[in-house]
C-alpha cells in the first residue's frame, strides 16, 4: 500500500486498541461538546442542532410554497375563475417556483449534508461549524422576510426565471422585482457558504482510511453537489447583480436599444438554472443509493458506476443550459450541441435507475415506508426522465416548450427525483434525531396519498400541454377542452396535500427531537452514521476499510463506543476533529474547532437585514446593518487561528498529530481556494457577458481607453502580488520584526488599490459612463466586481493590522497571513486580467 502524505498505513493495525481507557476522559468529552442551554441554545453551532433546524426551516418553506400551489390549482380548476386576481396569481407562481428552488430544494439538501455528512464520515463536526450556523441563520431570517413580501403584495411577479426586459424598471417599476434580486442574494451567499463547508468537509474530515474508494455514496453526491454549486451559483449571482445594477443605475445590460441583450440574462440564468436541477437531484439520488442497500439488505450494485454517474452529471449538466432556450432562435448548430448534451446527461440517470433495480434484485426488499417512497420516486422519476428525453429533442421542444407539458415534466423529475426520496429520508433517518421513529402504518398512508396525488395531478397535465395550454397563465377561456384535465389535476393536488398534511400530523405525534437517546438504526443501515453518537458525534473515530463498516465489522460499534479508535478523548481540551488527506484519508493534523458563539447568528441577521432593508430602499439603515454584519464577522474571526499550548496531540494508539498547521495542507487554505473559485467563476461569467455583448451589438462599442495605461495598471497589480509574496517569505525569517511582513503585505494592498483606482480613472477619463451603452455597462460591472474585492481587501488590511498589533500574526507562518496573501494574489490577477480585457478587446493598441 502506498501513501499519500507519508503516513504509514501500517499504523492502522494498532486499532482497535486494547486496554483500559483512562477514567474521566468521557465526561471531559461530554463537557467540551455540551450545547448551551436556554435561549443561548440559539448560539449552538453543532451540526446536530443546526442541521435539524435547517431541515425544519426548509420543510416549512416546502409547505408554504405547496400552499401557494394549492391555491393556484384551485384557480385553474375551471376556466375563468376569480379565486386569484391576475396580479396575485402572477406573484403566486413566481413565489412558488422561487421558494421551491431557492428556499426549499437547495437548502434542504445542504441541511441534510450538515446533519448527515459528519456522521457518515465519522467526523466530530463539519470543519467550519460557525459557517454552517451563519449559512442557516442568514437563510432563516432572510427567507422568512422574503416570503413575507407576499402578504404585502410586494412579492416578485416576473416568474422565478425573472426574464428581462419584463423585470426591468420600465416594465416592473415596483420593488417586487428587487425583492427577488436582493432577496435571493443572501440565499446565494448561504448556499455558497454551505458548499464550501461541504467540499472541505467531504475531502478533509473523513475518518482515517476512508479513501475515495470507500467513501459513502452520499459523500460523493454531496461533493459533486457542492462542486456544482460553486460553479453554477456564481452565474446567477452575477446575473442578479447585473439586473439590479440595471434597475438601480440604469446600466443597459439587457436593454437592446443601448447595446444590451435580454438573451444574455437567459444564458446566465440557465447556466445556473439547469445545473440547479441536478444540484437538487444528485444529493437526493445519493440518499436513495444509501437507503436502498439497507432496505434491500444487500450491497449497492454498481457503486463505481454510480460514482461515475455523479461525476458525469456534474460535468455534462453544464452543457445543457440552453435547452431552456431552444425557442429563442439560437443558431441551429448550437441548438444541436445542447440537444446532444441533454441526451448525454440522461445516460448517468439511466445508470442510477438500473443500479437501484439491480440492487433490489440482488437483495430481499422489505416493503416499509422508505422502500415505498423510494420505489414511488423511482417510477415517477423515470417518467420525468422520459419526457425529459423528449424535450431534449429540439423539434418536439418547439411544440411543448412553455406549456403545461413542461410543468408536468419538471414536477415528475423534481418530485420523483427529490421529494419522494426526501420523504423516504425523513422516515429512514428519523431515528437519528428523534426519540421515537415515525409510524409505519401512517407512513404508508402518507405515501399512497402523495403518490396517487402526484400521478393524478401531473399525468393529465401532459395532455393539457399538448392541447395547447401555456404555462404561467392565471386563467384560460372555456370551450377548449382544458376543463377536464385541469379539474383532475386540481383534485390530485388536494390528494397530494392530504398526504403532506398527514405527514405533518405524524410529525407532531412522533417526532421528539433528541441528540443522545435516539430511536437509532430502525432500518438496519450499514454506514457510519449509525454508530452510537452523542453531541460529540462518535466517541472515537474508527479506521474505515469498507463501504459498510457496520455490516463488515460487527464489533465496530462497541469498539467505537469504548474509545478504541482515533481521538477517544479531547487531548487538547478543545473541540477538535481529525483532518485527513483528500484521496486516501490519512490523518494529517488535529483541527481545533470553534464552539458556540452568538457572532455568526448576529452576522447572519445583519446580512439578511442588509439585503432585505436594501430592497425597501432604506439605504441608511441597510448600510448600518451591513456594517454591523461585517463587524460581527470580523469579531467571529478574531477568536480563530490561534495556536494552542499542546503542539502535538496523541490521537490514540500513540499516534501524534500536530494541532496547528499552515500552508496548502490546511482546511482553511482549501476553503479559501474554493471561495476564490467562486469569485473567479463570477469574474469568468462577467468576461463571458463582455464577449457576448460585444458579439451581439458591436456597433455600440465605440469608446477606447488608451492602451498605455496598461503598463502602470498591470505593473501595480504585479507589484502588489510581489509584495504579498515577499511578505509571506519574510514572515518565515527570524531576524525581522513582525511588522515587516505585515507592512509589505499592506503596501501590496495599497498598490492593488492604486491600480484599481488608476484603471477606473483612466476609463472615466474617456467619458464612458455606465448608462451609455452595453460597453459602458459591462466595463463598469467589471469595475464593480473588482471594487467589491478591493473593499474586502481593505477590510482585510484593517484586520491584518489589528492582528499584527495584538501580536496575533505568529511567525514563522500563519494562516491568517496566508489567506490574505492568497486573496491579494487573486485580486491582482483578476484586476490585471480585467484591465487587459477591456483594453485589448475590441480596441487594442
Amino acid at each position: 500500500m502506498s501513501s499519500e502524505t507519508g503516513f504509514d498505513p501500517a499504523l492502522y493495525e494498532r486499532f482497535p486498541t486494547t486496554g483500559e481507557r483512562p477514567a474521566g476522559e468521557f465526561d471531559e468529552l461530554n463537557r467540551i461538546w455540551a450545547a448551551p442551554t436556554g435561549i443561548a441554545k440559539l448560539t449552538a453551532v453543532n451540526n446536530n442542532y443546526v442541521g435539524v433546524w435547517y431541515i425544519a426551516t426548509a420543510f416549512l418553506f416546502f409547505v408554504l410554497a405547496g400552499v401557494l400551489a394549492l391555491v393556484m390549482r384551485a384557480q385553474l380548476a375551471l376556466p375563468l375563475q376569480g379565486i386569484l386576481p391576475q396580479e396575485t396569481y402572477n406573484q403566486f407562481f413566481t413565489m412558488h417556483g422561487t421558494i421551491m428552488m431557492f428556499l426549499f430544494a437547495v437548502p434542504i439538501m445542504e441541511a441534510l449534508g450538515v446533519l448527515l455528512l459528519p456522521q457518515m464520515l465519522a467526523a466530530r463536526d463539519l470543519p467550519f461549524p460557525r459557517l454552517s450556523a451563519y449559512a442557516f441563520w442568514a437563510y432563516f431570517v432572510g427567507g422568512l422576510c422574503f416570503f413575507a413580501s407576499i402578504f404585502f403584495g410586494l412579492a416578485p411577479n416576473g416568474g422565478w426565471f425573472m426574464y428581462p426586459p419584463l423585470t426591468s424598471t420600465t416594465y416592473s417599476p415596483g420593488i417586487n422585482a428587487d425583492f427577488w434580486l436582493l432577496g435571493i442574494g443572501f440565499i446565494e451567499i448561504s448556499a455558497i457558504a454551505g458548499a464550501i463547508e461541504i467540499i472541505v468537509g467531504v475531502l478533509r474530515t473523513r475518518a482515517p482510511g476512508m479513501s475515495l474508494r470507500e467513501m459513502p455514496i452520499f459523500a460523493w453526491g454531496m461533493l459533486v453537489f457542492a462542486g456544482m454549486i460553486v460553479i453554477a451559483f456564481p452565474s446567477v449571482i452575477l446575473a442578479t447583480l447585473l439586473l439590479e445594477l440595471e434597475r438601480a443605475l440604469n446600466w443597459p445590460f439587457f436593454d437592446p436599444t443601448r447595446g444590451g441583450d435580454p438573451v444574455l440574462w437567459q444564458h446566465l440564468f440557465w447556466f445556473f438554472g439547469h445545473p440547479e436541477v441536478y444540484i437538487i437531484f444528485l444529493p437526493a439520488s445519493a440518499l436513495v443509493s444509501m437507503m436502498i442497500p439497507a432496505l434491500a439488505r444487500t450491497r449497492l450494485v454498481g457503486h463505481n458506476l454510480i460514482v461515475l454517474a455523479f461525476l458525469a452529471t456534474g460535468f455534462i449538466s453544464f452543457g445543457v443550459w440552453a435547452h431552456h432556450m431552444f425557442a429563442t432562435g439560437m443558431p441551429a448548430l448550437s441548438v444541436g450541441f445542447f440537444a446532444a448534451a441533454s441526451m448525454a446527461v440522461s445516460v448517468p440517470a439511466g445508470i442510477q435507475v438500473f443500479s437501484w433495480i439491480a440492487t433490489f434484485a440482488s437483495g430481499k426488499p422489505v416493503f416499509n415506508t422508505p422502500t415505498l417512497f423510494v420505489l414511488g420516486g423511482l417510477v415517477t422519476f423515470v417518467i420525468g426522465g422520459l419526457t425529459g428525453v423528449m424535450v431534449a429533442l429540439v423539434p418536439f421542444d418547439w411544440q411543448v416548450h412553455d406549456t403545461h407539458f413542461i410543468v408536468a415534466h419538471l414536477h415528475y423529475v423534481l418530485i420523483g427525483g427529490a421529494v419522494f426520496p426526501l420523504f423516504a429520508v425523513f422516515y429512514y433517518w428519523m431515528g437519528m434525531t428523534s426519540r421515537r421513529p415515525l409510524s409505519e402504518r401512517t407512513g404508508k398512508w402518507v405515501f399512497w396519498l402523495m403518490f396517487v396525488g402526484m400521478q393524478v395531478i401531473f399525468l393529465p397535465m401532459h395532455l393539457t400541454g399538448l392541447m395547447g395550454m401555456p404555462r404561467r397563465v392565471y386563467t384560460y377561456l372555456p370551450g377548449r377542452d382544458w376543463e377536464i384535465t385541469n379539474m383532475i389535476s386540481t383534485i390530485g393536488a388536494f390528494i397530494f396535500a392530504a398526504g403532506v398534511l398527514l405527514f405533518l400530523i405524524e410529525l407532531a405525534r412522533n417526532f421528539r427531537f433528541t441528540v443522545e437517546d435516539d430511536a437509532g438504526n430502525v432500518y438496519g443501515g450499514g454506514t457510519l452514521e449509525w454508530l452510537p453518537t452523542g453531541l460529540y458525534s462518535t466517541r472515537s473515530i474508527p479506521v474505515v476499510n469498507s463501504r459498510y463498516p457496520l455490516w463488515d465489522d460487527p464489533g465496530i460499534c462497541k469498539d467505537v463506543e469504548e474509545g478504541r479508535y482515533f481521538l477517544p478523548n479531547a487531548p487538547t481540551g478543545h473541540r477538535e476533529t481529525i483532518i485527513t488527506s483528500p484521496v486516501r484519508a490519512e490523518p494529517e493534523y488535529v483541527q481545533i474547532m470553534p464552539g458556540p458563539s452568538a457572532w455568526p447568528l448576529l452576522a447572519a441577521v445583519f446580512t439578511a437585514g442588509f439585503f432585505v432593508i436594501l430592497t425597501i430602499q432604506a439605504y441608511g439603515v441597510a448600510l448600518f446593518s451591513g456594517v454591523l454584519a461585517v463587524l460581527c464577522v470580523l469579531r467571529w474571526l478574531w477568536d480563530t487561528d490561534r495556536p494552542i499550548a499542546v503542539e502535538q496531540a496523541d490521537v490514540g494508539a500513540g499516534i501524534m498529530l500536530p494541532t496547528y498547521v499552515t500552508g496548502p495542507r490546511t482546511h482553511g487554505w482549501w476553503a479559501m481556494i474554493v471561495l476564490l473559485v467562486v469569485i473567479g467563476m463570477i469574474f469568468l461569467m462577467a468576461v463571458f457577458s463582455y464577449f457576448y455583448l460585444y458579439g451581439i451589438h458591436p456597433q455600440f462599442w465605440m469608446v477606447e481607453a488608451q492602451g498605455w495605461w496598461l503598463f502602470p495598471i498591470v505593473g501595480l497589480y504585479a507589484l502588489a502580488a510581489l509584495l504579498a509574496w515577499l511578505g509571506r517569505r519574510l514572515l518565515a525569517r527570524e531576524d525581522v520584526s513582525e511588522w515587516t511582513p505585515s507592512g509589505l503585505l499592506l503596501w501590496g494592498m495599497v498598490a492593488a488599490g492604486a491600480a484599481f483606482i488608476l484603471d477606473l480613472w483612466s476609463w472615466r477619463a474617456t467619458g464612458l459612463t455606465g448608462d451609455a451603452s452595453g460597453q459602458g455597462a459591462i466595463i463598469h460591472a467589471l469595475f464593480t466586481l473588482q471594487g467589491c474585492l478591493v473593499f474586502i481587501l481593505a477590510l482585510m488590511a484593517v484586520y491584518l493590522a489589528a492582528r499584527t498589533g495584538r501580536a496575533l500574526i505568529i511567525k514563522p507562518c500563519n494562516n491568517t497571513f496566508d489567506l490574505i496573501t492568497l486573496f491579494t494574489w487573486y485580486l491582482a490577477g483578476q484586476g490585471a486580467a480585467s484591465a487587459l480585457l477591456t483594453r485589448l478587446v475590441p480596441g487594442g493598441f
Binding site: 376556466p79 375563468l80 376569480g82 386563467t475 377561456l477 372555456p478 370551450g479
Partner: protein
C-alpha cells in the same frame, strides 16, 4: 346651450379632466338628453339600483290581484303569488312622456320614452288598504316607490300627491316643490330628475308604516321558490352560450367571463323587478329581450346579440338562477 352647461357641470362631478373633455366633446355632437337618457351609460347609478333590489323585499299582505286586473304571465307564477306572504304587488305602470329638465348632474336628463306597460313588483313597500283601493280604481296610476331613484322615469303630479302621498318629507329632501331628491344618500342617485308622474306616489313613510305590522309575518321567510320555472331550458347551456357571445364583456354575471362593468350587474337577476328598467322581468320577455334588446326598449344601450331562440331561452334560464332564493 346644452353643451355649455354640461361642460360646466362636468367639472364638478368628474375631476378627471380627460373624462370632462370627452363628455364635452360628446355634448357638442348631440343634445344633452341623448347622452343622459341611457341608463346603460351610468353604471354607478345602476349598481345602486341593483343594491336596492338585492335588499328589497316585496311586501304585500296577500297575493291578491289588484283592482281586479288579471295578472299576465305564468300560471305557476300566479300560484306562487297567492301563497306568498311577502311578495308581490303586480301592477301596471305607465311611464308617460316627460321632458328634459335641468338636473344636478349631466347624466340625469331623461329623454322621452315610449309608454309601456308591464308588470313589476314593488320594492320594500306595503300597500295600505286605502291605497289598494286607489290602485284598484286606477291601476295605471301606480308608480313604483323609489322608481325615481332607480330608473328615474318617474313623474309626479301635485294633485295626486295631495290625494295619496304626504308632502315631501325630510327624507326626500323636497328642496323644491315638484322635485325629489334621491333617497340613497349617494351622489349618483341624487339625480332627482324632477319628473312628473301621472299617478301618485307611495310615500316611504306611509309604506313604512304599512310595513310595520307586516314585519312580524314577513320575518318568516317564505320557502325558496323558483319564481321563473323554465322546464324546457338548460341553464348550463345558457351559461356557455353567454360565454360564447361575450355577454360578460358588459355585465357582471356569476359564472360568466369576463366581468364587465359597462352594463348593469346581473348578479341577482332573479330578484330584479324590471328588465332594462322598463320591461317586466318575465321569462318570455327576457328571452326575446336578450336577442334584440333595441326592439323592445328603444334607446337601450344593449345591442342585439347573436343568439338563437333556443339559446336565448337557455340564457334566460341561467339568468334566473342568479340571486334567487
Amino acid at each position: 346651450m346644452v353643451g355649455g352647461r354640461l361642460r360646466a357641470q362636468s367639472g364638478i362631478g368628474r375631476p378627471d379632466a380627460f373624462a370632462a373633455k370627452a363628455v364635452a366633446n360628446c355634448a357638442r355632437l348631440q343634445p344633452a338628453c341623448r347622452i343622459a337618457g341611457n341608463p346603460q351609460g351610468r353604471s354607478r347609478a345602476l349598481r345602486h339600483r341593483t343594491r336596492l333590489k338585492r335588499h328589497g323585499r316585496v311586501v304585500c299582505r296577500d297575493g291578491l290581484t289588484i283592482g281586479g286586473r288579471q295578472l299576465a304571465g305564468y300560471v305557476l307564477h300566479l300560484g306562487v303569488l297567492a301563497q306568498a306572504r311577502c311578495i308581490a304587488l303586480h301592477l301596471t305602470i305607465e311611464v308617460p312622456k316627460f321632458q328634459a329638465r335641468e338636473t344636478r348632474r349631466p347624466c340625469a336628463v331623461a329623454e322621452s320614452v315610449e309608454t309601456m306597460a308591464g308588470e313589476a313588483r314593488i320594492d320594500r313597500t306595503g300597500v295600505a288598504a286605502a291605497q289598494r283601493d286607489d290602485l284598484s280604481r286606477r291601476p295605471e296610476a301606480i308608480v313604483r316607490h323609489r322608481f325615481h331613484g332607480t330608473a328615474r322615469y318617474q313623474r309626479r303630479r301635485k294633485d295626486e300627491r295631495r290625494d295619496g302621498a304626504p308632502p315631501p318629507s325630510s327624507r326626500f329632501g323636497g328642496h323644491d316643490r315638484g322635485t325629489y331628491r334621491g333617497t340613497h344618500g349617494s351622489d349618483c342617485t341624487a339625480l332627482a330628475p324632477g319628473v312628473r308622474e301621472k299617478g301618485f306616489i307611495l310615500s316611504p313613510w306611509r309604506s313604512f308604516a304599512a310595513l310595520l305590522p307586516m314585519l312580524s309575518i314577513a320575518a318568516c321567510e317564505a320557502p325558496p321558490v323558483d319564481r321563473h320555472p323554465m322546464p324546457q331550458a338548460d341553464p348550463e347551456r345558457g351559461r356557455l352560450a353567454m360565454n360564447r357571445t361575450g355577454c360578460g364583456s358588459c355585465h357582471r354575471i356569476p359564472g360568466v367571463w369576463p366581468e364587465g362593468s359597462v352594463g348593469p350587474s346581473l348578479e341577482a337577476f332573479a330578484q330584479q323587478t324590471l328588465i332594462a328598467g322598463r320591461l317586466p322581468n318575465r321569462a318570455d320577455v327576457l328571452a326575446e329581450f336578450v336577442r334584440d334588446a333595441p326592439r323592445y326598449v328603444p334607446g337601450t344601450g344593449m345591442p342585439a346579440m347573436p343568439l338563437t331562440e333556443e339559446e336565448a331561452r337557455d340564457v334566460a334560464a341561467y339568468l334566473y338562477t342568479l340571486g334567487g332564493r
